[in-house]
C-alpha cells in the first residue's frame, strides 16, 4: 500500500465497503504523513457533515403548489376509454371540456397507444369507462358523419391548427378537398404545407375530418392510420373517387 493509494482510498473507506480497508489502516498506523493527510481530509468531511440543517421558509409547500397551479396550464390528467367502432377499437381521451384525442387500435396494444397519446397531449391519462356523451359523440360520427364539435376540445392546439381543422370540418361528408383549398379558405393560400402539418398533427381524427383533405391530384396522400383506413372512412361516408 502506497501513500498515494491511501489518500485516494480515504473517502471510499467511509462507506465501510472498501476491501482494502485493513491494508489502509495498517499503512496509516505506520505512516505519520498519511495520518496527517487523513486527519486533514476527515476534518473537512466532519465539518461538512456538521453544517447545521436549514429550514425551508414557512408555507413553502403551499407556495410551490400554488405556483404549479398558475404555471402549468392543464394540471389534471385526461381520462381515456376504449370505444368500439365500425373501423375497429378507438381509444378516446377526454376531459370535462370535451374529447381531446382519438386513436385507432391498429394492433399495437393499449400500452403503446396510451404512451403515444400521452406524449402527444403532454399530460397523463387515466383509464376509465366511456361516459355516455363520449360514446354518443363517436356513434354520431359513424351515423351522420357530422359529430357535435362542441364536444371536442382542440384548445391545446395552435390558433393556426385550430383554424385549419375547423376549415376541414366544413367539408361535407362524402366529399374531399385539397390542402390548397383549406389554405385558401384560411386566407393564406401559400400555407399549403402548414395545412398539411396541421392535418398530420390532428389529435382528434374522424371527429375533425382531416381524412377529407387530400392532395391536389385527388390522391389520398397520407393518414395517421394508413391510407387504407382513410379510404375506408371516406367510403363509409359515401365518397366515390370516380365522381371527382
Amino acid at each position: 500500500m502506497r501513500c498515494c493509494d491511501v489518500e485516494r482510498l480515504w473517502d471510499e473507506m467511509r462507506d465501510g465497503v472498501e476491501p482494502r480497508r485493513e491494508h489502509v489502516l495498517a499503512h496509516l498506523r505506520a505512516c505519520p504523513e498519511c495520518q496527517e493527510i487523513y486527519r486533514e481530509n476527515e476534518g473537512i468531511a466532519y465539518c461538512l457533515t456538521c453544517l447545521p440543517p436549514v429550514d425551508p421558509p414557512q408555507r413553502m409547500v403551499g407556495k410551490i403548489l400554488d405556483h404549479i397551479k398558475t404555471t402549468v396550464k392543464i394540471i389534471s390528467p385526461d381520462s381515456i376509454a376504449g370505444v368500439d367502432s365500425p373501423i375497429g377499437k378507438l381509444y378516446v381521451a377526454f376531459r370535462h371540456s370535451g374529447i381531446t384525442a382519438v386513436a385507432l387500435d391498429r394492433g399495437e396494444g393499449e400500452e403503446a397507444i396510451l404512451a403515444k397519446l400521452q406524449r402527444r397531449l403532454g399530460r397523463g391519462l387515466i383509464p376509465s369507462q366511456a361516459p355516455q356523451w363520449v360514446s354518443d359523440t363517436v356513434a354520431a360520427f359513424f351515423r351522420t358523419h357530422q359529430p357535435d364539435l362542441e364536444k371536442v376540445d382542440i384548445s391545446a392546439l395552435t390558433p393556426f391548427e385550430q383554424s385549419a381543422l375547423r376549415a376541414a370540418a366544413t367539408i361535407p361528408p362524402g366529399e374531399v378537398r385539397s390542402y390548397r383549398w383549406v389554405a385558401e379558405k384560411l386566407g393564406q393560400p401559400t400555407a399549403v404545407r402548414a395545412v398539411g402539418r396541421a392535418m398530420a398533427r390532428n389529435p382528434v381524427p374522424l371527429l375533425y375530418p382531416c381524412h377529407r383533405v387530400v392532395d391536389a391530384s385527388g390522391a389520398l396522400h397520407q393518414y395517421a392510420y394508413g391510407v387504407d383506413v382513410k379510404a375506408r372512412i371516406l367510403a363509409l361516408e359515401g365518397y366515390q373517387p370516380a365522381r371527382r
Partner: protein, 222 residues
C-alpha cells in the same frame, strides 16, 4: 503520546452521514401528479437545503426549489405509467434541482455569490454541540463552521455539488454518479479534489481533528 497509541482511525471515528440524510423517506407507490403534494412535502426540505448549500442565498434556493418542482410536475405528467413506476424519484429530483441551480448560477456572476445565508454566525456560535459522537475534538468548531460554509461556496460548481451531495446530503458514490450523470470514478475524484481545495482554502487548522487523549488546548500550544 505517539499517534499509534491513540488510534486515529477506526469505526468509532469515521464521520457518519448527517442525521437528516439517513432518515428513510416514505416511499410513494408510483409518483405522479395525483400524489404530487405529498412528494413536495417529503422532499422540499432536503432539496431546499441542497439548493441553499449550492447557492448560499435563501431567495435563490426557494426559487430554485419552486422551479424544480414545477419541472418535475410537468415531466411526471408526460410520463407513461411504466416510466413512472421505474422512476428513481430521489436522485431524479436532485438532478432537476441541480440543473435549475446551474442555469440560475450561470446567469449570475459567480464571484458575486451572496453569503447571507448560511446563516447567522451568532446562531452557529450558540449552537449546542450536537451531531455524531466523536472521541476527537474539533478545534473551535462553531467558528470553523462559518468558514467552511463560505469556503464551500468558493468551490467550482461541479466540485461543490459533489462535496455537498457526499458529505452534507449523505449520498453514496453510486447515487451521486446517478444524480450527476457521471462515472463513479469521476465522482470520487471530484469529492477528493473538493476536500483538498477546501483544505487549501481553510488552511491546516480549521476543522483539524485532534486525537482524543490530546486536548485541543495542548494541540494549539504545540
Amino acid at each position: 503520546m505517539s499517534a499509534l497509541a491513540a488510534p486515529i482511525i477506526g469505526d468509532h471515528h469515521r464521520v457518519t452521514a448527517p442525521a437528516a440524510a439517513s432518515h428513510p423517506l416514505p416511499s410513494h407507490p408510483v409518483p405522479g401528479p395525483e400524489n404530487f403534494e405529498s412528494i413536495v412535502d417529503d422532499y422540499q426540505r432536503r432539496l431546499y437545503g441542497f439548493a441553499l448549500r449550492m447557492t448560499g442565498n435563501r431567495e435563490d434556493a426557494e426559487e430554485i426549489v419552486q422551479d424544480a418542482f414545477v419541472r418535475a410536475y410537468r415531466a411526471l405528467a408526460k410520463m407513461d405509467p411504466q416510466q413512472r413506476a421505474e422512476l428513481r424519484l430521489q436522485p431524479w429530483l436532485y438532478t432537476i434541482t441541480l440543473n435549475v441551480t446551474r442555469n440560475r448560477l450561470r446567469s449570475k456572476r459567480p464571484t458575486n455569490v451572496a453569503l447571507d445565508a448560511l446563516a447567522d454566525p451568532d446562531a452557529l456560535l450558540n449552537e449546542t454541540q450536537e451531531g455524531p459522537d466523536q472521541p476527537e475534538q474539533i478545534v473551535d468548531r462553531a467558528a470553523d463552521m462559518v468558514l467552511v460554509e463560505q469556503a464551500l461556496l468558493q468551490l467550482p460548481m461541479h466540485l461543490r455539488a459533489a462535496a455537498t451531495l457526499r458529505f452534507i446530503e449523505g449520498r453514496s458514490h453510486p447515487e451521486i454518479a446517478e444524480i450527476l450523470n457521471q462515472p463513479i470514478g469521476t465522482v470520487k475524484s471530484h469529492v477528493h479534489r473538493a476536500v483538498r481545495i477546501l483544505r487549501r482554502i481553510l488552511g491546516p487548522q480549521v476543522g483539524r481533528i485532534v486525537p482524543s487523549d490530546r486536548p485541543a488546548s495542548q494541540e494549539e500550544e504545540e
